[in-house]
């Protein structure tokens, strides 16, 4: 009975959404959008690109035009990392790591440490080139965390320095807000670019955008690593 009711509600919602979108004249057909009617047209305007200085327009939007959203987004990740630690209760004990079902051998441990280095370097590359190529702080940070996860899975004695991660995420987050506040001091508005935009396409361009993206990368990396650590260690539960 419950399944049928669920199916009915879900079907009703789906049919409602599809019919409403299908009959709407304002809703554009797939692939048939008119950018000039949208605010995005301004983002792609040549003068605006030179003003912001980021070759990757998506990065220009994420960190530049809608940087306040990104501050909120980083905060969401921060609060859920905080929440995971809170739900698992207090400071995790160093002895309580979850055991692996197998005994990792020497090759696995050493091999994964070598790969760890490569992943870390690649992720740093992605973070530093966020304003030039696809990528940036969020994917790069997630890659750092995946490297840490690799070490956790390949070595049953491994514990990362959780305190260090906490320090890093606290400082990186604070610096993000402080850079925003500096915009209020040196320029007029919060998160305003107060550094020269430079030439589009160079590594040192786009003012505060790469700086903020590096901070985001560090923060995301340390937060997700902290979450990984919390899941793989048994704390006292709430």
């Amino acid at each position: 009975m419950k399944n049928i009711l669920g199916l009915f509600v879900a079907l009703l919602l789906g049919v409602f959404i599809i019919l409403a979108l299908d009959t709407s004249a304002s809703f554009p057909e797939f692939g048939d959008i008119d950018l000039t009617e949208r605010v995005s047209d301004e983002y792609l305007d040549g003068n605006n690109i030179d003003d912001v200085g980021s070759a990757n327009i998506v990065t220009a939007i994420v960190v530049g035009y809608r940087g306040f959203d990104t501050l909120g987004e980083v905060t969401v990740l921060f609060i859920s990392a905080l929440g995971v630690a809170l739900v698992f209760g207090g400071v995790p004990n160093k002895q309580n790591r979850l055991d692996l079902k197998f005994k990792p051998n020497f090759m696995l441990k050493t091999g994964s440490k070598i790969i760890f280095g490569f992943i870390l370097v690649t992720s740093l590359y992605i973070i530093f080139h966020g304003h030039l190529s696809p990528g940036g702080g969020f994917p790069g940070g997630a890659m750092i965390a995946s490297a840490i996860l690799l070490l956790y899975l390949s070595d049953d004695k491994f514990r990362s320095n959780v305190k260090g991660f906490k320090l890093l995420e606290g400082i990186a987050g604070s610096l993000f807000v402080i850079i925003g506040l500096l915009g209020l001091v040196f320029a007029t508005y919060f998160l305003q670019n107060f550094l020269p935009a430079g030439t589009v396409g160079e590594i040192l361009s786009a003012g505060i955008i790469p700086i903020i993206y590096v901070l985001i990368g560090l923060k995301v990396g340390s937060e997700i690593s902290g979450i990984v650590d919390n899941f793989l260690t048994e704390g006292e539960s709430v």
Binding site: N3, L7, I18, L21, F30, D32, I33, S40, I79
Partner: protein, 111 residues
């Protein structure tokens, strides 16, 4: 229409949430729903002749780009989804520690 596929994925997620009583399956349903939403968001920015919105040395005027704003929005939405999922999994683990089951029907305390 590819957008309708995304909406169907979204509706699948809702159906899973309405009918499942297993906490882990509910979290998976939530993620299926969110993925459907993300694909829908990306799809509204697509344009058939458009290229990726990245300026290269070959870029001149007169090029058509896809809408960059939905891509920026979906980046934010994905990260928020990750945060919610992590928290939900943590709560699921603490429920499992307390009741020793993931099934809502098998929990002794009244819900």
């Amino acid at each position: 229409m590819i957008q309708y596929a995304a909406i169907i994925l979204f509706v699948f997620g809702i159906y899973g949430l309405l009918t499942n009583r297993n906490i882990i399956k509910m979290i998976i349903s939530l993620n299926i729903m969110e993925v459907g939403l993300f694909i829908f968001i990306i799809s509204i920015g697509f344009s058939y002749d458009g290229i990726a919105p990245i300026i290269t040395s070959a870029s001149g005027s007169g090029l058509i780009y896809v809408d960059p704003l939905p891509q920026a929005l979906v980046l934010t939405a994905i990260v928020i989804g990750v945060g919610t999922t992590a928290l939900a999994l943590a709560i699921a683990k603490s429920i499992h520690n307390k009741y020793n089951t993931f099934n809502l029907d098998e929990m002794e305390e009244e819900l």
